[in-house]
Amino acid sequence: MKAFADKLFLNIFHIQAADSPYLALWYVLMMFLVSFILLNFAALFAGIASYVERRIAARMQNRIGPNLVGPQGILQWLADGLKMFLKEDLVPQTADKFIFRLAPYFVFAGLFGAFVALPFGYGIVAADLNVGIYYILAITSLVVVGIISGGWSSNSKWALFGALRSAAQIISYEIPTGLSLMLVVMLAGSLSTQSIIESQGGWPWEWFVFHSPFTLAGFFIFFISSLAEGNRVPFDLPEAESELVSGFNTEYSGLRFLIYPMAEWANLWVVGAMVTLTYLGGWQIPGVRLETIPSSVLLFLISITIFFIKTLAVVFIVIQLRWTLPRVRVDQMTLICWTYLVPIALICLIGTMIWMLAFPWKSVFGTAIRILMSTVGGSVMIWCMLRARHNYVIDKDRFEKLKGIPAWYPPWKLP
């Protein structure tokens, strides 16, 4: 498929020789086209994620949520964006005006820079960088520069406190994130996102998460510290609305304000895709090794679908966590990082090294452990789902007896 697409592009624009003088220009053009597509993907995802998050929040809090703009309110994010677009772009009088205006660009560049190295399917990645995963870790640190500069230049106490908290939080949580990514890098022997996925397999026992007890712990450490790095609940201290009004973005308005929540929702995709590609097997199709067979459009589309399903599953878990857990305090935030996550991540690192030497990937015992762990993990997940259903059935009967109306609606008939 990829070879076919490449050939198609070359034929359309009559570029035959590899050393054509127009090839460099062609690359620059393609670069702009790919960035355009990625930006639009990220913006659309952020918009729809905001709508989905509000609907889920409403459902979990026994409210209705946005349901008026478009069918089931699905166009609510467009209306919100348009409203923000029409608002006045205020700059506080005592603010450091240049830095205040500049700050959203850092947030924007840091977050959307990560999309360049994120894969979407077999062979679909804007730039399969040799240092891909390391690059994603590094470029997202630009976000914190944007948050700090926005918070400081607002010349407001709320914004400054938000920025300080954010700096402390993101600097601390970069360490467990990096250490838990090291496990995957060791197992795959590469920093490139595509090679990491290629060294896993389609079946759950071929994913890195079930490689050993240490990688299972590493998976949870990575998930928790990704939440903290993205300022998601339960780590949304920088914008704790009950303490700091809105934190680092208190003084922003209009389109400049819109950048911050948009980056947060686009970050949901980055978190989901990173967890999927490092620990959950990425786009690998069960039972098929895509590298060894001739590429076909069907398999290619299946790989994209699998990657999207896994990523969206992680995104939904992150959204539901937001409306389930209370916010941690500042001291608890540092405590979780330095006394629990960092030491456990170090133990996992050394443990995985020993495990890799003792039970290689293809040895009988290693495979048996992986199959056992994935079976136990899958059973625990299914048990949790059955418990949730059990509780729901009990509640449903009580609700219907009490109110006399059905508790369950099909998704297209939500109130």
Partner: protein, 169 residues
């Protein structure tokens, strides 16, 4: 064609690096100096990319922008006197300053002339990560370990300093 694009990118990056470095040195507001340093670091990372040093470029981004610069900003933001030039830019007068600048210029020119620069005919964009890893654990193992011991000493020193204040209270 590709060399033209290469040169254009190089000069754009060099322009940003030089201008922002000048802002770092001459700005009267130290927070603005710190923010100008972001641009300097990013431009240097871009220059590393142009030299096909992908791993070093990303490390530059992670360590300097994500780590050191955030710590600098963190410290600078907590100080209330960000606009007092007497504190941030200490000056010892024109005469000693002039001597230092002259000596430094001479030294830099000497180094620039004497160094046997390796001129690459064309930059080959090849992955460098595994080569760096192999040399760190073979030829340069001793310096590598020495640096890690140095960092450990720094860590322990920081803990000791933090502890002592707690005990005195």
């Amino acid at each position: 064609m590709s060399t033209v694009i290469y040169n254009v990118i190089f000069y754009i990056l060099a322009f940003f690096v030089v201008i922002s470095a000048a802002v770092v040195a001459f700005s009267k507001n130290i927070v603005r100096s710190a923010f100008a340093m972001v641009v300097t670091f990013l431009g240097v990372a871009g220059l590393f990319v142009l030299l096909s040093a992908d791993f070093i470029a990303v490390t530059q981004l992670l360590i300097y922008v994500g780590g050191i610069l955030v710590l600098i900003l963190f410290a600078v933001m907590l100080s209330s006197r960000v606009k007092e030039i007497k504190i941030s830019n200490l000056s010892v007068g024109y005469f000693p300053g002039g001597i230092i600048i002259a000596l430094l210029t001479l030294l830099l020119i000497y180094i620039g002339v004497k160094t046997p620069w390796q001129k690459l005919d064309s930059v080959r964009f090849e992955p460098s990560t595994s080569a760096i890893g192999n040399s760190l654990l073979s030829n340069y193992l001793l310096p590598f370990e020495m640096i890690s011991v140095l960092l450990l000493v720094g860590l322990i020193g920081a803990v000791v300093i933090a502890r002592r204040k707690e005990d005195q209270e």
